[in-house]
Amino acid sequence: MSPSTRVPEQGVTSTVPLQDVSSTVRRDQARRLLPWVLGLVTVLAALALQSQLYSGQERTVATIFMFVALAEAWNLIGGFAGYASFGQVVFFGVGGYFTAVAISHWHFSFWVSLLLSGVVAALFATLIGIPLLRLKGHYFAVATLGVAEGMREIVTNLPDLTGGGAGITVPTVGNNATTAYLGNDGFYLLFLALAALSVLVAGLVARNKFGYALRAINQDEDAAAAMGINTTRAKVLAFALSGFITGLVGASYAFQQVTIFPERLFDVDITVLMIIMVVIGGSGTVLGPLLGAVALQFLSEFLRQNFTDLHTFILGGIIVVAVILLPQGLVNYVHEARRTKEYSLLANVRRYRL
C-alpha cells in the first residue's frame, strides 16, 4: 500500500502517492527554470545571429535590443506598479547627456561614464519620484511628462555645458577620444547586454517579494499599505531601478550617435513607443514588453524599407487593428485564452468593449 501525503495543490487537497509528489516537485522546478533556460538560449541565438548580419543590419537589430531594454524598464514602474510614467525618456536623456558631457568636458572613459549615467539617472528618479509618486493616475503621468519636457528645455538653455540646441558631440577620433568607438559590432553586443540585463531584472522582480509588493500597489494601494507594505519605498525603488536601466541605455545611445540633440534625447515619441510596446505585448508581464518591442520595431523597419511612402500610415492602421483585437496585450491574451479555452479574437473584443 503506497503511503499517502497531503499535497496542497492550487487550494485543493488530495491524497497523492509519494513518487508523484516528487515528480510534481521536479515538474515545478523545471517550470521555474524554463524561463532562465529560454533566456540563455535567446541570448546565445542573438550572439550567433551577429555573424550573419551586415553592418547596417546589426545597427537595426541593436535598435531592437535598445527598445527591448527600454520597454522592460518602463514595465517595472508602469506595468508592475501601475504608475504610467509619460516622462520616462527623461532618464534616457539624462543618461545620454551625462555621458556626452562627461566624455567631452571631463574626459572620462565611456565605461565609467556609462555606469555613472545609470547612477545619476537613478538618483534623479529618486529625487523626482518622492514628490511625484504621491500623485495618482493621470496626474502622475502628466507630471512626469512635464519633467521630461522641462529637462529638455533646460538642457537646450545651457549651451556652454550641453551645446544647447546645436547639440553636443562625443569625441570619438583624435586626441580627445577617451574610448575607442565601438562600431556597429560593439554596439550590437552592448545593447544586447542591456536588453538581457533589463529582462533579467524584470524577471527577478516579478518573482520575488518586491514584485508582489508592486503588484499589490497596482491593484489596491490602500490595501497594500494596510498590509504593511511601505508603498512609498517600493514605488520609489521601482522608479529608481527603471531610471537606472533607462539611463544606461541613454548613455549607450549617446555614444553610438556621436552627436546628440536635446530634441531627440528627450523626445516624447520615445516614451510613447515604449508604452505602446509594453501594452501591445502585455503590460505587467516579463515576456510582454520583449515581444512588443521586437514586434513593433521589426514591423516599423520592415514597413519603412518596403513601403517608403506610406509606411507610417500603414503602421497606424496596424496598431489600430492590433489594439482592437488584443486590448489586453498579446501575452495576457494568451494567458486568458488558455485559461478560458476561448481563443476567438472576436470573443476577445466582446470581452472589452462597452
Binding site: Q52, G165, G167, V258, T259
Partner: protein, 392 residues
Amino acid sequence: MVAGCGSKAETNNGGAASSGPLAIGASVSLTGKLAREGQLTKEGYQLCQDKVNAQGGVDVGGTKVKLAIQYQDDTSKPDVAAQLVDQFNDKGVKLILSSYGSANTEAQAAVIERNNQVMVDSAGADNKIFSKGYKRTFAVLSPATEYAAAIVKAIAELATPKPKSVVFLSADDGFSKSVTEGGMASAKSLGFTVLDPQYFTNGTSDVSSALTKVKGQHPDVIIGSVHLVEGVAIIKQSKELGVTPVGFGETVAPPTPDFAKTLGTQAENVLGSTQWTDATKGKDKYFGTAKNYSKDIQANFGHLPDYHNAEATAACLALVLATEKAASTQPDKVRNALSGLDTESFFGKIKFDPTGQNIYKPMSVIQVQNGKALTVWPKESAEAKMIWPGTR
C-alpha cells in the same frame, strides 16, 4: 532586412561600373517635421535623375550608365538618417546624397566617414559639420554664416538712406545660431550698430516676447535667422504689436512660395537670402541655365522652383560630374574628383574648399515685390531694384 541575410559574402553592385544602373542612396525626410523640405529635396533629386538619364546616363569612362537613386524615409530624425546610410552601405551603395537640414546631415556625415562612403550635401549648411575634419562630405550650398551676411551686405550696398541699427532675431538651433553669428560679424564690419540678439525656441509660432523686447529700441532693420514658421510669425506679429522697422530681412522663409501665399500683402518688400533664384548666372550641359531649370521644375511638379529643389539637383549634379571626371564609380576616385571639381552650373559655381564647403558661390538676396520673389543682389543677377524703405 534581418531575414534575407546569410549572404554576407555576396558582392553587390554600386562599386565597379558594370552594365547595371548606378545606385545612389538618398535618405530624405518624407514624414515628420521636415516633410515639406524633404519633399522638395526629393523632387530636386528626381529631376536630376530624369535629365541625366534622358541624355543616356552618366558617362563613366566612355560607357553611359543610367542613374538609379534609391530613396528611404528618415522621418526627420537624425539617428534614423544615420542608420539609413549604414543600411545603404550594407547593400554596397557607397555614393550618397544627403538628407535635408544640418542636424540630419551632421549625423550622416559621421557615418559616411567611418564607412568610406562619399556624400554630397544638398541642404546642411551649418559650418560646424565641416569643422570636424571630415574628408568625404562635400556641400554644394553656401555655408550658414553667409545666410544673414548676404542680406546685410545687400542692405549696405543698395539701401538709401543707409540704415544705422540692426537687430537679429534668431531661432536657437545650431544652424540659425551660425547664421546669426555670421550676420552679426558682417554687420559690425560694415559699420552698422548691432543691438543684442534675441533668441526663441526653434519652430515656435509666437515670437511676441522677442518683438516686444526690441520694440523700445527702435531698430532700423530686423533680420530673422529663422525657418518658415518663425519667419511668418515675425512679420505677422510685428504688425500686430506695432513694431515698425524700416525694413525686414529673413533667411530661408521669404524666397519660398508659402511665405507670400500665407502673408499676402504683409510679405511685400521683405528681403530674403537664398541659395539660388532663377536669375542666377551660370549654365551646364544637363540643366542649361537657371531659367531652363525653373521651366523644368514647373513642367514636372507643377509649382515654381524653391531653392531647396535647386540645391538638391545641384548636389546630384556634382556627384554626376565628379563620376564623369573620375571615369569611375569607385568611392575613393569619386571623392578625389569632387575635391578638385571646379565648374559652372545652373546653380552657380560648384567648387569646394579644403573642408568641403562651397565658399565660391555667393548667396543671392531677393525681395518680395507684388507677391513674387525678385533678385535684387548681387548686381550681376539683379532682376529688380531694391525698394527701400521696405515698410512704407
